[in-house]
Amino acid sequence: MSMQVAKTLDLKGLSCPLPIVKTAQAIKELASGELLEALATDPGSVADFKAWCSSTGNELVEQTEQDGVYRFVIRKK
């Protein structure tokens, strides 16, 4: 399934809680159903993104890790 990402956020090198704050800001700019891609290096972001999505109702559609970079794809509710 190919997914069209509306916006990519580079959060590499940022530590908690900055990745969540920047994501919360960025997703405001998107329309409902659009996808946001976030790239982070903070290991704590894995749990934080999961919890943030379930709390806000946005959908975490993909989560991968490669060479210490975590990639999250979030669909705006």
Partner: protein, 392 residues
């Protein structure tokens, strides 16, 4: 010719680095501190001012009295640094030459980044703000008191948590606790960014009846409606709102073309050299390092920068590195406090709050003026290696 060292900023980091270098270099160096006000603030004290436990005079001293005699103090705003020429431009048109430069310029508050913040909320991150908040608290007769942060990064990460604990105690002493609701707004799903600290803090909040609203990233304040709303789409009503304003790096950093988009200096996490600049260092709140913006950070960084500059002046290889060490007290009210000690490798393992750490913070507050700026506090404080996995 003595080496010329210019330090921008006369806060804890700038004062300490200047004093250490002047002592170390002796006649081999000429150290100058440039500060726009010439007054040194002990910023951790703002919290006590807001709660009516201290007056402002205790928190401010003339920077001249804290510097070694041989250090020059230039009371002026630095407007721009020219790294090519090794020059600092000053507001009144003068310039200062440097061989080595230290940015210890700190952070500034930018409340206008959040609509309604300036009109609708109080803060304790400036002396004037803390004094205004003290008056607002005196007028407070009970109601909904909301405390949160309106942007990251911000200085002294434990301060909002300390404030909710201390204000809860304050309301009890005033006899209006039963008529008040105290709430902490957190940008995350826990009370504090560091998970091990949250585990200590949250049960105490529960015991004390302090509410926690999670994933609340402040978007705007509506002063006329008395509401604050979050990026997550929540809107809360308040009677008294206390929000830490967003922070940015100083204008001189931006105007010198050395900072990132928010004005923080890209800094090497070990050498504290500004990236791409052999003769420029940065400490304290001014850096972009992903560690606490606090006086404690600057305090531990200053000896590293002083040692590295002294080595460079003498033509030897610098060998001191900063290991990310930070130590913060966290007051939980009722004469108890815990402590967060950590570095790049070790997350903190805070003890249960007790009277000992509360007394230690009290002692530190009193000893500050005579010890920290002069480098008299033993650098190698006891620091048991904390255990636990690395946490964000």
């Amino acid at each position: 010719m003595p080496a010329k060292v210019v330090v921008l900023g006369g806060g804890v980091g700038g004062t300490l680095v200047a004093n250490l270098l002047a002592k170390e270099l002796g006649r081999d160096g000429k150290v100058s501190v440039v500060d726009p006000t010439g007054m040194h603030h002990y910023q951790p004290g703002y919290l006590y001012v807001a709660l009516g436990q201290a007056n402002g005079r205790w928190l401010v001293r003339d920077e001249r009295t804290l510097l070694r005699r041989e250090v020059d103090l230039v009371i002026e705003q630095a407007t721009k640094v020219d790294p090519e020429k090794g020059l600092v431009h000053l507001e009144r048109g003068g310039t200062l030459e440097y061989d080595y430069l230290v940015f210890a310029t700190g952070a500034r508050l930018v409340p206008d980044q959040v609509p309604g913040l300036r009109q609708g909320s109080y803060e304790f991150y400036s002396l004037e703000g803390a004094q205004r908040l003290r008056e607002a608290l005196r007028r407070f007769r009970g109601g909904r008191l909301l405390v949160g942060i309106a942007g990251v990064p911000y200085k002294c990460p434990p301060a909002p948590v300390e404030f909710v604990f201390m204000v809860e105690e304050y309301l009890r002493r005033r006899g209006i606790r039963d008529r008040s609701e105290v709430t902490l707004l957190s940008p995350l799903n826990r009370a504090f960014t560091i998970e091990s600290a949250s585990k200590v803090i949250q049960p105490i909040m529960e015991q004390r009846g302090i509410k926690l609203v999670t994933f609340f990233n402040v978007e705007e304040v509506d002063p006329s409606a008395g509401t604050v709303s979050s990026l997550e789409g929540e809107k809360l009503e308040y009677d008294l709102l206390v929000l830490v304003p967003p922070h940015r790096g100083q204008q001189v950093v931006i105007d010198s073309g050395l900072g990132d988009a928010s004005g923080w200096l890209p800094t090497d996490r070990f050498t504290l050299q500004v990236e791409g600049q052999d003769r420029i260092f940065a400490i304290g709140d001014a850096t972009n390092l992903p560690i606490s913006k606090s006086g404690s950070t600057a305090h531990f960084e200053a000896p590293v920068v002083a040692s590295r500059i002294a080595s460079l002046v003498r033509g030897t290889a610098p060998n001191e590195n900063y290991g990310g060490r930070v130590m913060c007290f966290l007051e939980t009210g009722n004469r108890k406090a815990t402590v967060l000690r950590f570095d790049y490798e070790h997350p903190p393992a805070p003890p249960q709050p007790n009277l000992i750490w509360h007394s230690a913070k009290w002692l530190f507050n009193r000893l500050y003026w005579e010890t920290v700026p002069q480098g008299r506090l033993p650098e190698k404080l006891p620091m048991p290696v904390p255990t636990g996995r690395s946490e964000s």
